[in-house]
């Protein structure tokens, strides 16, 4: 059956609530400002009112309550709203959730999920366009899930809610809501920490996550159609754990790489992937690594200013041609 990314999120929430009575929802936004996506949650809101907790605007408190409930046997998912808002909750997410298992010498687990609508969504300006995956990746003990496809959104969120024993940040993206993919009903849950080759290729690798996967796939189409270039697209799916093996393996095969990322360029996810390649795949590289990430500036409001900074499919295709020496 074919589902959209937003349907995948709604299905994961609904199925997790149905299969484990310890799953609870703190907040019920999840779908941001999209009325049609919000409608997808109506059955969940109707079927599980006693498992959904209304919330004041209180990101730090909500995250902390989810952590406390998780440490005491519940499996909460907390809607932290727009990606930037996780900064309001950072003290609890980074300093409590991520540390508790380690600090207790393994006594206590925190299976809480922090759901965050990350990314440059359009007109969000500097305070509503947060992409915090690189910052979050600097916090040992925190899983960072950043799916780029509908089936992975479904699989990763369901896994976080039902199976994970560690705190997870699930990075959703409103511009991915209408992306579709096939899912098989009752399919096994994902192996987490495993990247996925979304398109096989031989001339260069494009490494991406979240919204950048869709743009990388579009760029790969253009490259093939207009330039006869065979690009491989690697979807990281999870930032932490990072599947370094698949990254190295793909670049060992193609010898050339563009890393497309929506974080600010410096100290970003792309930087970590590039460092991995420098350490483990330098001898395979036929050209320098190219990072295509958002320049190190706050996101502006005005459409032409915002457009200037976004890493588009066109920029990825042009970058790929540069790496190929064309």
């Amino acid at each position: 059956m074919k589902i959209t990314f937003a349907q995948g999120v709604a299905m994961a929430l609904s199925e997790a609530l149905a299969s484990d009575p310890n799953v609870l929802m703190i907040g019920s936004g999840f779908m941001g400002l999209s009325p049609s996506a919000r409608d997808l949650l109506n059955p969940v809101l109707r079927d599980y009112p006693e498992r959904i907790f209304v919330t004041p605007i209180s990101e730090l408190g909500l995250a902390g309550a989810a952590i406390g409930a998780a440490a005491c046997g519940q499996r909460p998912v907390v809607d932290l709203g727009t990606g930037s808002f996780i900064l309001e909750a950072f003290a609890q997410v980074a300093n409590e959730a991520a540390n508790i298992h380690y600090m207790t010498g393994g006594q206590t687990s925190v299976p809480a999920t922090f759901y965050s609508l990350a990314g440059i969504r359009g007109a969000g300006a500097a305070q509503h366009s947060g992409r915090m995956q690189a910052m979050l990746g600097q916090v040992p003990g925190l899983q960072v899930l950043a799916p780029g496809a509908a089936d992975d959104a479904y699989g990763l969120l369901k896994w976080a809610l039902l199976e994970s024993q560690n705190p997870s940040v699930f990075l959703s993206h409103s511009l991915l809501f209408d992306e579709t993919s096939e899912i098989v009903a009752g399919a096994a849950m994902l192996p987490v920490g495993k990247a996925r080759i979304r398109r096989e290729g031989t001339d260069l690798s494009i490494i991406a996550s979240s919204i950048m996967v869709a743009r990388a796939l579009a760029a790969a189409d253009t490259l093939e159609r207009e330039h006869g270039v065979s690009a491989e697209v690697v979807d990281l799916r999870t930032i932490v754990p990072l599947d370094r093996e698949t990254i190295v393996k793909s670049v060992a095969k193609t010898g050339r790489v563009v890393i497309a990322d929506e974080c600010p360029l410096s100290f970003g996810v792309a930087a970590e992937v590039a460092a991995t390649l420098a350490e483990r795949a330098l001898s395979h590289l036929k050209a320098p690594v190219l990072r295509l990430a958002v320049p190190d500036v706050p996101i502006p409001y005005s459409p032409p200013l915002e457009a200037e900074l976004i890493v588009t499919a066109e920029k990825i295709a042009a970058g790929a041609l540069r790496v190929l020496g064309r």
Binding site: G64, A71, M103, G105
Partner: protein, 339 residues
């Protein structure tokens, strides 16, 4: 109730006090590296609060956690080993003094961030409410009211009506202020701490941290209300800061606390003598039970000897416990797969 037997209470308070004294001695001997905080002067609070708790209840604490953990039943030897960073500790040396937690005793996590544990306690209360059993209790200092986390935790607790007892141990009060009847925090502009939660409709009250029987009555009532589904409660315990906790690093102003100081004797330091006379919950309780003739002094002496021997054994255990192997630094970052 057996647990409210005066001998038990004296033993529980002495266990905390003697433990903390040895902790200060070990710090002076440079047996452990980090900064630390002691619970001397607040013993009656942890002891009487924990008397009301059941195995299914949860406790959250702060960097000043030794007293709460001991009152809950944690083993002094494993706690001291943890403080020394040894493998015999509850977290095999990963938490140290600041974050001691014992999940098996319902202490799932301890936060050394000011206000950090308050939202956790609200969430634990939510877990209790959902499973229909137990309450959560969080101990914190008056400075937590200066953090946003305090308000967020309090608002959520009230909106969700969770069974959570917020115990604010206001130990910022110097003896001279107490004498004048002033009980504000050191820096919070609120005239009375309980005005703050009350403005959010959380029922709040204050109790004297030097008066064990008042504390006992207060916690018995509040825990019953919270357990009965009455929603969260806030209580300010007005403690007077112990003389040895004023310096940046805790110290023993006149050596170990002497039993004789509860029976007419006085320490050399005048400020300590004043504190013991007016504010020491242990000395005040001993005076009271001596006056009531409910526990003979010889029995108190015997209890103290027994407790001292127990703590001495804990210190030996901690000193002899090996450090964890270096490779353990990499363990427990991630929890294993679901069982």
């Amino acid at each position: 109730m057996q647990r409210q037997d005066p001998a038990e209470r004296v033993a529980a308070m002495l266990r905390i006090r003697r433990f903390e004294e040895q902790c200060i001695r070990l710090a002076n001997e440079k047996r452990f590296p980090g900064h630390f905080h002691v619970y001397i002067g607040q013993e009656a609070t942890a002891v009487t609060a924990c008397e009301q708790l059941r195995a299914e209840d949860f406790i959250f604490s702060t960097w000043r956690n030794h007293g709460h953990l001991l009152a809950r039943g944690a083993a002094p030897d494993r706690m001291m080993a943890e403080i020394l960073g040894k493998s015999g500790g509850y977290a095999r040396g990963k938490s140290g003094t600041l974050h001691i937690a014992v999940k098996g005793l319902g202490v799932p996590a301890t936060s050394a961030l000011v206000g950090g544990a308050l939202p956790l306690a609200t969430g634990a209360g939510l877990a209790c409410k959902r499973r229909g059993a137990g309450i959560s209790v969080v101990f914190f200092g008056d400075a937590a009211l200066e953090e946003g986390a305090f308000y967020e935790a309090m608002i959520l607790a009230q909106v969700w009506q969770v069974p959570t007892l917020f115990i604010c141990e206001n130990n910022s009060i110097p003896p001279e202020q107490r004498k004048r009847g002033q009980f504000t925090s050191s820096t919070l502009p609120a005239a009375r701490l309980m005005d703050v939660p009350q403005s959010l409709q959380v029922k709040a009250e204050a109790v004297d941290g030097g008066d064990l029987e008042a504390l006992s009555e207060c916690f018995a009532r509040l825990v019953a209300e919270v357990r009965g589904g009455g929603g969260p409660r806030f209580v300010e315990v007005r403690c007077t800061r112990w003389t040895g906790s004023f310096p940046l690093w805790p110290e023993l102003p006149s050596g170990d606390w002497q039993l004789d100081w509860a029976f007419g004797g006085k320490p050399e330091r005048a400020d300590l003598a004043t504190w013991i006379e007016q504010s020491d919950p242990l000395a005040l309780y001993l005076k009271k039970i001596a006056a009531a003739k409910s526990l003979e002094r010889s029995k108190v002496t015997a209890i103290d000897q027994r407790v001292k021997a127990e703590i001495a054994q804990a210190v030996r255990f901690a000193l002899e416990s090996p450090y964890p192997a270096a490779r353990e630094a990499y363990e427990n970052v991630w929890a294993g797969a679901k069982q």
